[in-house]
């Protein structure tokens, strides 16, 4: 959060940022959008922003991910540039991709801490006591992991992000070894409280805390608004 002082009075600077609330969308399509938005953010053609989305079932492998950590041959796999190992995305999971320009590459550690804070506060809103205390970064309820984090930074702009299990079918995690663990390590908000959740309620809480922790005012946009102009660099789509 940014704060400055004018005379004796502390002033909170609230910055404008966009929110792309995509509903349910396939992983690969949103991955392509992320990469386009990273370039546009790096070129200062758009401000910072946040993508929120729910994906169709898919396994993704971070830079250290191993194909043998995906146990079910029927699960589609994508190898991506984020940190971390194998994870699963699917219905009932709220996924967030912050597209933020970092003034300094070393701020990435603080960003992970801030994202954990957003998710811990969200869990607290629903009566779930979550912490950072687990074998790796992420958000934990007891010994189980409720949210995973995996980021990448390109041209000083962040992408990829977090995945919070709201009503995720936890049996799906048994098809992979999430971050090299047994799939049984994962939990969800629904499992933690033994009740149903509406993803939209959780989304509203994540949006509120993202604004609070990062000092943003989020304005809803659609993807065409962010990608309206032609890409500046025609080489962008070359492999």
């Amino acid at each position: 959060m940014l704060a400055t002082t004018e005379g004796e009075r502390p002033i909170l600077i609230v910055r404008d940022a966009w929110l792309l609330d995509l509903g349910r969308r396939p992983y690969r399509e949103v991955w392509e959008w992320q990469k386009s938005l990273v370039d546009r953010r790096a070129d200062d053609r758009i401000p910072d922003g946040l993508i929120l989305v729910e994906h169709e079932p898919i396994a993704t492998l971070g830079r250290r991910g191993k194909r043998e950590d995906v146990l079910d041959p029927n699960l589609e796999i994508v190898e991506v540039e984020r940190g971390g190992e194998a994870t699963y995305h699917g219905p009932g999971q709220l996924v967030g991709y912050p597209i933020l320009k970092l003034p300094d590459r070393l701020e990435v550690k603080q960003l992970v801490t801030d994202l954990e804070e957003v998710l811990i506060r969200t869990c607290r809103d629903f009566g779930i006591e979550a912490t950072r205390e687990g074998p790796e970064r992420g958000v934990w309820v007891g010994r189980k992991k409720i949210a995973s984090i995996g980021l990448a930074v390109r041209r000083s702009v962040t992408f990829h992000g977090f995945a919070l299990n709201v009503t995720t079918d936890l049996r799906e995690f048994l098809k992979i070894r999430p971050c090299g663990h047994d799939g049984g390590i994962m939990t969800s908000m629904a499992e933690s409280l033994g009740r149903k959740f509406d993803l939209e309620d959780v989304k509203a809480s994540v949006i509120a805390h993202f604004q609070g922790v990062f000092g943003f005012t989020l304005r809803r946009v659609d993807v065409s608004e962010l990608l309206r102009e032609r890409p500046a660099d025609p080489k962008r789509h070359r492999p």
């Binding site: 830079r63 940190g83 590459r105 070393l106 970064r137 995996g150 980021l151 990448a152 041209r155």
Partner: protein, 120 residues
């Protein structure tokens, strides 16, 4: 030794430049768990990404501090990325470039300027 704003060090060894990340960077990033390095022979431009480092679940880029050709990479880091934390200016080096213009390196920050950059 010279430094970049992205917290890399560059050390001239004749026409060659040895590159790594600074002690301040490894302290801030904490445990480096993965390093990806370029192929030997690759030609790179000043400021271009030449590899990545991963720590705290985040992958970020390493940039070329000068234009030139990659002549050596530290393959030991593939299996022992923790050397970047243990010995950032020694066995944790990442890449050696044959610089096309070694003056590019001399124009980077000197130790005093880098200390100022990181607020020391």
């Amino acid at each position: 030794m010279r430094y970049t704003k992205d917290h890399e060090w560059a050390k001239l060894e004749g026409k060659r430049v040895r590159v790594g990340i600074t002690d301040h960077a490894q302290t801030e990033l904490t445990d480096v768990v993965y390093v990806e390095l370029p192929a030997v022979g690759k030609s790179v431009k000043h400021g271009e990404p030449i590899g990545t480092v991963e720590s705290v679940k985040a992958v970020s880029e390493i940039f070329a501090p000068a234009s030139g050709t990659v002549v050596e990479v530290n393959k030991t880091l593939v299996n022992q990325p923790e050397l970047v934390n243990k010995d950032p200016y020694g066995s944790g080096w990442m890449v050696v470039l044959e610089a096309s213009d070694p003056k590019e390196v001399s124009s980077l920050m000197d130790p005093a300027a880098y200390r100022h950059h990181i607020g020391e």
